[in-house]
Symmetry: C2
């Protein structure tokens, strides 16, 4: 039989991270490569109790087909939390439950993107968004992000020459870089977008994992009519349950619901009730405080390791929350080459390449600190230091 595949699927990058994680499965390798929350912090006992309660009080209901929008009480909960935590007025009717934020990205691609439509993404940017929008054959317009947020001069240039439909941002503790947009940067970005025919997609899975500093305003506040919010329970409860949500202006909801129906009818109904029961019976804020305490210690251990074992010519970001630190090697040093050396020294990370749409070689890399304890971070950073030393010797010696 001949090739019957669609044109679109040829364009989608396979997850490079997946491939790397295969290498990192060797238990003697210390992995800073994952993007996983720390499994030791999952509230297993509490979720078990909540599951029993759902089976006992609404078992048949929870196991039956349900509506595409999602479990009403869970949508109400999310709406209430936006009000309480961010002062955002988002009615439950404007919230659709999805299979993690990733499905939110797929649904947005489905309902907005024709082939060749322009999308603004961050550089470096979240690989999952690049994958999801590639399926709909978007044309990507990367705008660099650095310590303060998005480079507004570059954004201005893109807006002058293109008419992007979507602008995808992770303003808090960005994946992969760990940076957070300052209040001032958010205002400047909003100012450039205001009045234009663009939707800002604010993906915000890490917001609640803030270690230091103060919460910044969501684009949902700055540009309410332009902003679609993506949220997730993956980082604050557990990712294996695959539950997230889209909060969108009312005019967008009917199309999102049709797309959700066509994609998988609805999200796991039992899991929706399970999470809602867990949230009802437990103090999620206390649970989050606990996650924050652990991740913050691990971040500090990683920063100490960077300062202790890496030469000062390696730059790093200063995340105020989240799960990632981003390193920039001296000019000319390849992070792919470093990866090969680091694996020999039994430590793994993700080279920067997959977070760009158009680069085969980069001098950047992502380190994850959420999954590894402080002691192991110390050992891993020491190994990474050795690998960097070898790499720079080679570069210097060329």
């Amino acid at each position: 039989m001949n090739n019957l595949f669609s044109d679109r699927i040829a364009d989608v990058p396979r997850s490079f991270i997946r491939e790397i994680l295969k290498v990192a499965i060797d238990p003697s390798v210390i992995s800073f490569a994952g993007g996983l929350p720390n499994r030791n912090l999952f509230p297993v006992a509490e979720l078990k109790a909540a599951a029993n309660r759902v089976f006992d009080t609404a078992g048949r209901e929870a196991l039956q087909y349900a509506n595409s929008e999602g479990f009403a009480e869970l949508r109400e909960y999310i709406s209430g939390r936006y009000r309480e935590k961010q002062g955002l007025e988002i009615p439950a009717d404007n919230i659709l439950i999805t299979n993690g934020s990733q499905q939110g990205l797929d649904l947005l691609g489905k309902i907005f993107l024709n082939q060749g439509n322009d999308v603004i993404i961050e550089e470096p940017g979240y690989l999952g968004a690049i994958q999801a929008f590639s399926v709909y054959r978007a044309r990507f317009n990367p705008v660099p992000v650095s310590d303060d947020g998005m480079e507004t001069e570059r954004l201005k240039e893109v807006l002058a020459k293109r008419a992007p439909k979507l602008m995808y941002l992770v303003p808090n503790f960005q994946n992969p870089s760990g940076i957070t947009y300052t209040a001032r940067n958010r205002e400047a970005v909003a100012e450039l977008v205001r009045g234009r025919n663009i939707l800002v997609v604010e993906d915000d899975p890490y917001r609640e994992l803030r270690f230091t500093g103060t919460h910044k305003q969501s684009f949902g506040r700055l540009l309410p009519e332009h902003t679609i919010l993506l949220g997730s329970f993956s980082k604050i409860i557990a990712p294996g349950l695959r539950l997230g949500w889209i909060a969108a202006p009312a005019r967008i909801m009917p199309k999102l619901i049709v797309a959700k129906q066509a994609s998988d009818l609805h999200s796991n109904h039992f899991a929706q009730r399970l999470i809602h029961q867990y949230l009802t019976d437990n103090d999620i804020d206390r649970h989050i405080e606990n996650i924050v305490r652990v991740y913050d210690r691990q971040r500090q251990a990683m920063v100490r390791g960077i300062e202790k074992y890496l030469p000062p010519t390696v730059a790093h970001t200063h995340p105020e929350g989240g799960m990632f630190i981003w390193l920039t090697l001296p000019p000319g040093a390849s992070s792919m080459r470093l990866f090969d050396l680091a694996i020999q020294d039994k430590v793994a990370f993700v080279p920067g390449n997959p977070f760009y749409v158009d680069r085969l070689e980069t001098d950047t890399l992502r380190l994850n600190f959420s999954c590894v304890d402080e002691e192991t971070i110390e050992i891993g950073m020491q190994r990474l230091g050795r690998a960097v030393e070898k790499l720079l010797d080679q570069v210097g010696g060329q």
Copy 2:
């Protein structure tokens, strides 16, 4: 802001059934409109026990991110069951876990369909498939099905003038009609497809729900290199867990996995382990026998009701399994008009319209017998009989 929606989403029909179900929510209405399995048969206690076991033995694991293909042991189980029940050799590597069959349809659309590509569907056909493939802007080529299966003369004509990529079939107890392709019809369809560059998508959620007659061979047997199988736990365990699968030839799997990654990373990991634990600890065949016993009695009650309360000018199918019976009214009688009359008489069904791609008026309708007990079926059919009488009086009086 101006309209930013994609062209594709404008083409997707909203679920008509959804709208109808809203009307049928009134508890005084007897509903034959749903497509739901009977919630009274869900193995709630067994699933609760299995859930506790998963929390106790693999809680952290089950709550963590997992691979896109699905839980290995569940894929092995499905592979083993294909071997045991159908003599099909499908390695676990060729099985991808999805969020119900509906997501299987979405993934197939993603990886195969360019805009305007031809797809063969059954007429009447499954609404969910029409929705899913509409997203990818397929051109539909409906081929009628009747008591014996697909009309091969019509199929021959379509194959002569088009080059369809996909051919979507529900050969067992079809939704909506309840018909099953005979062995002879399957051979004839396979013969027409053999040697052509077409993939047969065999959607088979009801196969195990056979009341009478003997199992027929899957297209996976007749055309192994051409056939993609879709399966689901929704009808034999519970739909709220949203788990199904695609079994596809090896050459197709890498693209399916990329599409799954881009769509939602992976299916609910906890639910996959839960279902696997349930299958390990329980005798699913005995559970299925129980479902079959109940549905068969309800089907018989519905057939008795048809014979007792409907005029002989109303034709009906004779399902050997599944959940649906299909009625054809006398020529000129509108099932939409009948729906309005029936709702006044407090009984609901789904008019035929949404099961065709190109008809606003039909003389056909779908009755579901899985969700209503025998006594209620008797009362509901009596009500439907009155509504049909009124309709035919009006038609006759025009």
